[in-house]
Subunit: 542 residues, 2 copies
Amino acid sequence: MAAGQGTEIVHDAEYYVLERQHAEAWAEDDAAVDARLAEIRSANGGQPPNILYILIDDIGFGEIGTPYLNYVRGYETPNINEFAEDGLRMMRMYTEPSCTPTRVAFMTGRQPYRLGMAKTSVAMDGFGMAAEEVTLAEVLKAEGYNTSHVGKWHIGDIAESFPHNQGFDFAAFPVHQQAQLALFARASHEGNQMIGANYTQFDDKWVLDRSFRPVPGTMVTGLEAVAGELASEVDLQAGEEWTQAKYIEMNERYQRQTLEQLDALMAKDEPFFLQYWPLLPLTFTRSDVDQFTSPNGGFQTESMQKVDGWIGDILARLEEGGKADNTIVIIMGDNGNFTKYAPYSGYSPMIYRGGKGDATEGGVRVDAFIRWPAAIEADSYVGDMIHVADLFTTLARVAGGLEHLPTDRVIDGVDQTSMLLLGEGKGRRDTVFVYQSFNLAAVIKEHFKLNLADAGSNLVVAPFYDLLRDPGEKYPVSTPVGAWAASPFERILQRHMAWKQRYPDLPAAVDTPYSGIDNLRLETIQMRDEWLAWKRQIGALE
Amino acid sequence: MAAGQGTEIVHDAEYYVLERQHAEAWAEDDAAVDARLAEIRSANGGQPPNILYILIDDIGFGEIGTPYLNYVRGYETPNINEFAEDGLRMMRMYTEPSCTPTRVAFMTGRQPYRLGMAKTSVAMDGFGMAAEEVTLAEVLKAEGYNTSHVGKWHIGDIAESFPHNQGFDFAAFPVHQQAQLALFARASHEGNQMIGANYTQFDDKWVLDRSFRPVPGTMVTGLEAVAGELASEVDLQAGEEWTQAKYIEMNERYQRQTLEQLDALMAKDEPFFLQYWPLLPLTFTRSDVDQFTSPNGGFQTESMQKVDGWIGDILARLEEGGKADNTIVIIMGDNGNFTKYAPYSGYSPMIYRGGKGDATEGGVRVDAFIRWPAAIEADSYVGDMIHVADLFTTLARVAGGLEHLPTDRVIDGVDQTSMLLLGEGKGRRDTVFVYQSFNLAAVIKEHFKLNLADAGSNLVVAPFYDLLRDPGEKYPVSTPVGAWAASPFERILQRHMAWKQRYPDLPAAVDTPYSGIDNLRLETIQMRDEWLAWKRQIGALE
C-alpha cells in the first residue's frame, strides 16, 4: 500500500528508500520481533510492559553512564552508570537541539517544525501543542495504560497543550521552564547571572520604556491537575516572592511526587506509563549547593549528582515494587549542555562540538540508555542511528498500540523495536534532518554530515564532515566526501522538500495564555491583561 | 636527610612541598605497601614480578580501553578494552608531548629537557641519550631481571644510546622513526602524503641546491643486537629499495620477535622485563590495508585495530605461559594523536584539545592501563595525577631496585606504588611541567592549568583553564582562578627554576652517527660521509 493511503503510518521520504532495499529482511525481523513480544507478554500475564521515561535537561553525550568519562569531568553518576550497565546503550541517539522540540518529538513522534513547535519559548506566549496531535500518552491510554507526568513539560502555556489534556491521568508540572524558575530570582542576580533586569539595581535615568523588563513573580509557576479538570497553581500565594529556595523545593516535590506516582501506579492492575522530566540539573546559582561533593564543583554538575541520586531512589523503588523486570526504563538527555554557562556551570563541550541550540553534534547527541530485563540484553551497545521521535513509534509498537497512530500526517519516528530486541545492525534509520527552530541546518546520512547553515545553496562547496574520524566537526572533508556525496545529498534534500509539499507543516495552537487554570494570582491576571492589550495594539499596528 | 645529600633520590622541588604536608601519612602507607610487596613476593617464590611494557605510538586519551568511546570513533579495540577491565585504569596519565621525550622519561625517570633529549629528531643527527643516564633496564638488570626490547626506540642514532647498550640483553629496533620508514617510500608519495621530495616527480628547472632533498634509502633501518655487541642492520641489502611492504613486514617481524622473546623469557628462572613499542598504528598510506574492518576506515585507525589484535595474541601467550598473575603489564599511548593527518588518518582530537607536539591536554594525556592480578584490583580506576616518568621509580621500587637509582641528579619520577596498591587518593603528585622541546609551555597543578606559551611573563594576565569543567581548554577562567592562583603559581615556577640552578640541565651525548653498527650499506656510508663533510664545513663557518 502506498504511503499515506490507509492504515500504515506515513514516514518521511527517506524511510522508503531504505524500505525498498530491506523489505524482505525487515519482514523476517518483524516476525521474530512479534514472536518475541508475544512470548514476553504471555510471561507477563498477558500485559505489555510498563514504561518509565526519565528525560534529563541539557545533558549531552558523555556526561552520564560511564565512569571513564566521569573521570574526565571530575564528578560521579554512579546510579545511572550502573543502570547503563544493566541495559542497552544507544550510542547514537539524536534529539532536537533544544528542550521544547525534543519533548514534542518524543510525545508525538513528529519533528516539531511539522506542528509549529520548533521554538523554545521562555516567556508567556499563548501557544502550544495542538489538541489534534496524538501523543504517546494518548496511544498508551488507549491500550489500557495508567499514565502520569511529573516535572518539566514546556510544550505550551494554553489549556489544550497541558499534559493532563494530552493523555495523562495525572500531571504535576511548571507551565514554563527554568529560565523563569531559576534565573528570575534574587539569588541568580547576586550570582552575576543577570544584569540589568531589576530597576532597583542600577540608576534608571536613561530608561524610557518601562514595559521592557519583566515584572518578577507574575508568570505562572507550578501546576497540578488530573485529566479533564482545570489545573491549579501550587505553592505560591498572591504577593509572595519566587525564590531559588522555592525552585529547589519544587524540584524536591517533583521527586517525591514521582515516587508517590510510581507507588500508586505499581499498586494498580493495569500497565503504567510514568514520565519524569526533572528540572535539575538546570540551575544557575551556587547558593543552594549545601555541600560540594565533586572535584568539579560546578553548579550544574553538583546538581546532576543530586539528580543521579534521585534516579537511584526511583530505580530502587521500582525494584522493591517487583516491577523492574517488566518495566522499560529509559534515561536520556534532551539536548547538549548549555554552553552559554560554560565552564562555570561545570560543563563544557567534551566530545562533540557545540551544545544546546547548535546543529553540530554537541547540540543533538545525548547519552541514552534503555533497560528492559525481560527483553533486552544487559551491558550491550548499539551504534545504529536513532532519533528521539523513534521512541514514540517503538514504544507504541511494544505496547501493542500501533493501530492508534494517526495515518494522515508524517510520523518521523521509525519503529526501532528490532534494534532493541535483535541488536546492533537492526536499526531502520540512516538519516537525520537537524532543524534549528524552523530552519533546516544540517543533514546527516550514515556518518557523513552536511552543514547547510554554512553552505548557502551550493552543495558543491558545502562543508561535509566525517563524524567518526572527526567527532568535533572541525576538519571539513568537503573535497573527498563532497566529490561523491554532493549529488546523493541533493537527492535527499529534494525528496524531503517534495514530501513537505504533500504533507505541509502546521501552525501551533493559539489561545489565551494560561487558559484552563482555576486560581490565577492577581498579579498574573494583571500581567496577562497588559500582554493582551499590547497584543491587540500590535495587531492593530500591523 | 636533605634532598640530594645521600642515598635518597632527588625529586623536583614541588615534591618536597607535598612531602612536608604528608610525611606521616606516606610513611604509614609505605609500611603497608612494603608489607604487601613482601607478601606478594613470598607467594611468588621470592621473586619480584615480571614486567611487560607496551607503549603505543601517537594514541591519546579515549582511543583505546572502552567500548563507549570506540563507538564514538567507529572502530574497536576489544583486546585492550578487556585488558583495561582486568586492571587499573590510570585516568590521568601525563606523557611528554612527543615520541622521543616520552620514551626518555620512561627509561630514565627524568624529564628529557634535563638530559638534552627533549627534541624529536626525524633525521640522522649523531646524538642520543648518554651512557651516564641510568635506565630502568639497567636498574632491573641489577636486580637480576632478563631484559629485552623490541620495536621503536628513537632515543639516538649513536652506539651508546642503543638499547642493548642501555641495559637490554636483546634488542630489535629501527634506529630512527616512522617518518623515514613509512613516509619516505613510494606508496606515501602516491597517497598524496609527500610533495616535492622526489626530483623525478616535478620539473626541477628551478632547483639550485641539490643537497636539500634526502636521498631515499640511505638511512639505516632496522637493527638487531645483543648486549655488548655491535648492532647489525637486517632485511635490507645494499641497493635495495625501502618500501611500504618492507615497513609492514618490519612490524610483523617485531610482533613475531616479541612473542619469541616472551617465550624465551618465560622459560628462564629469573624475572623478566620485556618492552614492546610497536611502530604501527603510525602509518600514512592506505595501500597496505587489505581489508577494511571498521566503519571509520582511516589508515591509522585500521592499523590500531591490527595492533589491538597483536596485543591480544601477546596477552594470550602470557596466559598460556602461566605468567599472567605475576606479571605487571602496562599498555599506554606515548602522546596525543598526530593531528597533522586528521581526519584522514581516522583520528582527530576528541576530548582534549590538540595532539602530538601540543602542550594542551590533547598532546600529553593518554590512555594508560596497568594489570597485575596478584596485587592490583581488577576493573578499578584512579583519578590521581601520574606522569610517565613515575613508572620508572614505581617499577624500580616494585622490583626492589630503588638502591640502584642515581642520587646525584633530579629524578622527576615519583614513586606511585601506594596509588597502585592502595588505590585512589594515594598518589603523590599534583603538578606537571609541560615542556615543548626545551621550552616550559604549561604548568598544571591539581586541575588548574596555566598556559605559559600565551602568557608572556605576566601571570596576572595569563590564561588559566579548569581541566574538569573545560577539558578542551577553550574557556579561560583567568579572572576567577587567576585572582587567587597567580601568586601560588608564581611560587611554583620560582621553585622549579631555582632547583634547575642547583641541578643544571645536561646536553645529549654526541658521536659519529651510526657508530656501533657492523654492516652499514655503501649508500649509508656515502650519505654519512657527505653529512660529516658538511658538518665540518658548517663548523668552520661558525
